[in-house]
Symmetry: D2
Subunit: 183 residues, 4 copies
Amino acid sequence: MSIAVIYGGTRANGNTEQLAEQALAGLEAERIYLKDYEIRSIEDHRHSEEGFQDRGDDYNAIIDRVLKHDILLFATPIYWYGMSGPMKNFVDRWSQTLRDAERPQFREQMKAKTGYVIAVGGDQPLLKGLPLVLQFQHIFGFFGTTYGGYILGEGNRPGDIMRDREAIRKAVLLNDQLKEQRS
Amino acid sequence: MSIAVIYGGTRANGNTEQLAEQALAGLEAERIYLKDYEIRSIEDHRHSEEGFQDRGDDYNAIIDRVLKHDILLFATPIYWYGMSGPMKNFVDRWSQTLRDAERPQFREQMKAKTGYVIAVGGDQPLLKGLPLVLQFQHIFGFFGTTYGGYILGEGNRPGDIMRDREAIRKAVLLNDQLKEQRS
Amino acid sequence: MSIAVIYGGTRANGNTEQLAEQALAGLEAERIYLKDYEIRSIEDHRHSEEGFQDRGDDYNAIIDRVLKHDILLFATPIYWYGMSGPMKNFVDRWSQTLRDAERPQFREQMKAKTGYVIAVGGDQPLLKGLPLVLQFQHIFGFFGTTYGGYILGEGNRPGDIMRDREAIRKAVLLNDQLKEQRS
Amino acid sequence: MSIAVIYGGTRANGNTEQLAEQALAGLEAERIYLKDYEIRSIEDHRHSEEGFQDRGDDYNAIIDRVLKHDILLFATPIYWYGMSGPMKNFVDRWSQTLRDAERPQFREQMKAKTGYVIAVGGDQPLLKGLPLVLQFQHIFGFFGTTYGGYILGEGNRPGDIMRDREAIRKAVLLNDQLKEQRS
């Protein structure tokens, strides 16, 4: 069982990252910081004659790295009660991969994975982060991906998250579970 | 009462646009197609020393156009059970405007507006589009913006939306309401 | 295709009933007013030795009437952002029927049906009624029942619903659809 | 700061009760088992001439006990993705209390309280229990009651909940918080 964490944050060492790293302590994981790559938004060509065009960015390299792993952690700050724009652009591009002749197994590969959501926000995330949790329920449901769980944490200023005892303990529990699955 | 419609779609004349135009028939409205502009994702500098930097893109010009209007229609295709990446990037940037010395009235201006959501998707949008509806509930709630209503329509192939009688009738009703408000 | 409407309201000719009757105009339907029957709350005996006991009330007669039909309309006023207590007690008892040796086909029968939700409330039902819509998504999902759709209407005082043009038009649309299915 | 826990379960010592008691360990709390009382469903007389009638049951005695406390734990098994029927009937009756001349401070009293939700279910409660969490968001929001938090646990057979480490730890954390508030 190998792990990838996809970071949607736009600052280094933000609260979301700190929380996710608690869940990953002592585990090998591929860390993908979306902010370090160029991932352009999708252009919907599902029904155009020419079909989807290569967008000449880093997306394909990233999705190939993601697909190698069994467990995916989507770790995003809660921006405006949803995932960050960079993460949304990344997810949106899956519509292109679904029609990508070079990645014909995409749907089956995603189905075989287990996904987790880790999200930190400043405005009552345990309540106002729920639309994001529900959205991922449908995203994972589309593929049949197992929804392993989610952690919603509270924080604004860098480091705040370490004071959210409930979130930290959930991350430690997730760490235990991931370690058990590895063995 | 003046109207702006913010289009989050990435193809011309898509289902979402067709639906929104039903709601706007015979009305003057400023049409903003996000796909035609460069709007970069936010870089979170809420807590960095230097603060937010100008991102050198079209965002500020767009938000200034939006803020002139009383009624805002957020019209987005449903991509992966949420608003499109381009629209999310646009919304994310509001965090920057909230701290923009040149736009000190942003919060109060947004509070005074009425927002509508128009969204079209292909996978049970009346159910699986609800996280998006709930997300906008929190977005509008943040400012105190009036949530005028939402229309969820179904469509995949271009033109599909015209066969969604319920969505079309809701758009016609909204058109009536907007015309009443104008007078 | 035969229709049953299960009314959860506690007053005669309430807004929810008026709205549902718009959807049923000109159609034969079995009308079940839960308020006219004694339906006791479930007593959870899933794991007790004696198992579920007959509660000596009207529940079994009612569920047998419901099960004869192909299309079920759950029509409830929105009380405290959910279905009415009487309707909840009725639904809760399904846990007993799932273990009822005299109704061994209950799960399969429910799966074959199409369910609709019609609900009227006074406090922003299009937004605050959504937890109820989501709850029925899970209820229907449990069985595999088709979720035909839902109508959320606004009203407090008797008759208010007739001024909710959007709800009324949705009911008329549903009426059209039900008529088409009948033929 | 005094505490009341309102139990909506219908069996003794069920999973929900066990979980809630973890949160209450070492604390004084008034325990109200709704199953031990007769609480009839509301009859909606908000708009009838005669108004609400006394229903001759235990409701008023119960609500008076509840209102004495500052912190309310609503502890319910998840039945069909919502609160139990007995708890729903209890909550529905608040509409009567809102118009009860003998309890004119009901709204203000509820506003001053902090509410928690503890709910245990057998079918993916962390995801499918969210409509219940959202419903209480609106219920508490109606009064302005502070939503202190919620714990969703997993369990079917009696005692299952003790194996849900995440839920148990959350209950222990809540216990800590309640103890801090007491002092």
